[in-house]
Symmetry: C2
Subunit: 217 residues, 2 copies
DNA sequence: GGGAATATCTTTGAGTTCCAGCATTCACAT
DNA sequence: ATGTGAATGCTGGAACTCAAAGATATTCCC
């Protein structure tokens, strides 16, 4: 299993600081599908994903889930929520089994006296912000068609790994909508799907869909 | 007009560092409604709002604007976009007239060797992230009714300052929708509006709208 | 291992909902 | 008197829901 020194954020700390931190860290093991924290929970600890993969999502009033991110170890979870001392904006659920390390926030504040640590922190926060800004863009600007075009263009490999209904939930749409649009794209000869492998026939059409938010006609 | 030392992010720097930075800063004056940068632009400079108020918004393919934030001086604009060296995720437009200081990014990197500066930076980034997370929540989870309930509950004073169509654009909905929902709330005796002043008659109903995303019936 | 039985996905159709768009009328303030 | 903002009815589009059928996987049993 991973240790603190394997995590980029902490890699710049001295061995003594690392030992001290490692000693303060509580390790929790989680089974598949278990919840690390719920949206709205508060915590005095920084959650560090040491092993496994988690999914972060919001829950809408009617119970539908709005997918935000998947994270794989090693990763800091809910970084800014910890710093702002606000309730978690999303629920964190394990996809398989895995482990989380809990580090008291007060210890982190101590580390910030170390310049290199602070700089890593700035970089980590700013990366996370990029993720969030990206998500916001997709959810507020993109139509369902544009979301799918974007996925096909930038990450067509997921169609090999995941079932369509899993992809739909990551894109925050229903499997029906995904299916309808994929068949439409196939009909328009923009893509071909064979044995779960997506081949792009007309890349420009995909870019145009992203730009205009809709397909030709 | 404000100087660098008046800006929280820079307040911890030494007078000599401040002088050096101030010397490197280009000052730009902008008229009302002028654009500081467009969504998609790139820049080697950190934009610092020294005077006036700006509005940040995304533009959807059909030309509709998605309002993100209003900022008043002093404030750093597009903080994380600068750090991640990515195109601006939104357009920045002045609401009145004002001034912006441009600071070369390379100079900022130098400052990060100063621990106090780095810590301020972490705090600034994390605050901005909170704003963004909030916006994401409103845009992905809230219905139009919930957005309005939230505004009435947490910032009913805006109804005195702004016209309804301005409020609608901040909430990313049409004035018609805002009008319809406000009259519905008045009919249900949840609020009363007199002379642009909103009075809350039934706070619990508002909370329930936010929780359930819809009004009683 | 082959093939039936079963479960799980995917596709397709029809209907619904939410909210934007347009047009008109109404209200109010210059 | 005139222009701007607000209210309201109607229409339309995007994406969701529900339901049912079709296609794939998976399991089980001989």
């Amino acid at each position: 299993m991973l240790e603190l020194k394997d995590i980029p954020l902490f890699s710049k700390l001295s061995p003594t600081q690392l030992d001290e931190l490692q000693g303060q860290m509580h390790i929790h093991h989680y089974e598949k599908d278990s919840i690390v924290f719920y949206e709205g929970d508060e915590s005095e600890y920084l959650h560090i994903l040491l092993d496994g993969r988690v999914r972060l999502y919001k829950t809408a009033p009617k119970g539908t889930q709005v997918h935000m991110h998947n994270f794989a170890a090693p990763e800091i979870i809910a970084l800014f929520a910890a710093f702002e001392q606000i309730p978690f904006p999303a629920t964190c659920e394990f996809l398989g089994e895995g482990t989380v390390g809990l580090l008291p926030l007060s210890k982190i504040y101590d580390c910030m006296k170390n310049v290199d640590f602070s700089i890593s922190l700035v970089s980590a926060l700013s990366k996370r912000m990029k993720l969030l800004a990206n998500l916001l863009h997709k959810e507020t600007i993109y139509s369902t068609e544009a979301k799918i075009a974007d996925l096909v263009l930038n990450n067509s490999a997921v169609f090999e790994r995941l079932k369509n209904n899993e992809i739909a939930s990551i894109l925050n749409m229903t499997p029906e909508t995904l299916s309808r649009i994929l068949t439409k794209m196939k009909k328009e000869k923009i893509i071909i799907i064979k044995k779960h492998i997506v081949m792009i026939l007309n890349e420009n059409a995909l870019r145009k869909i992203i730009e205009t938010n809709c397909m030709g006609n």
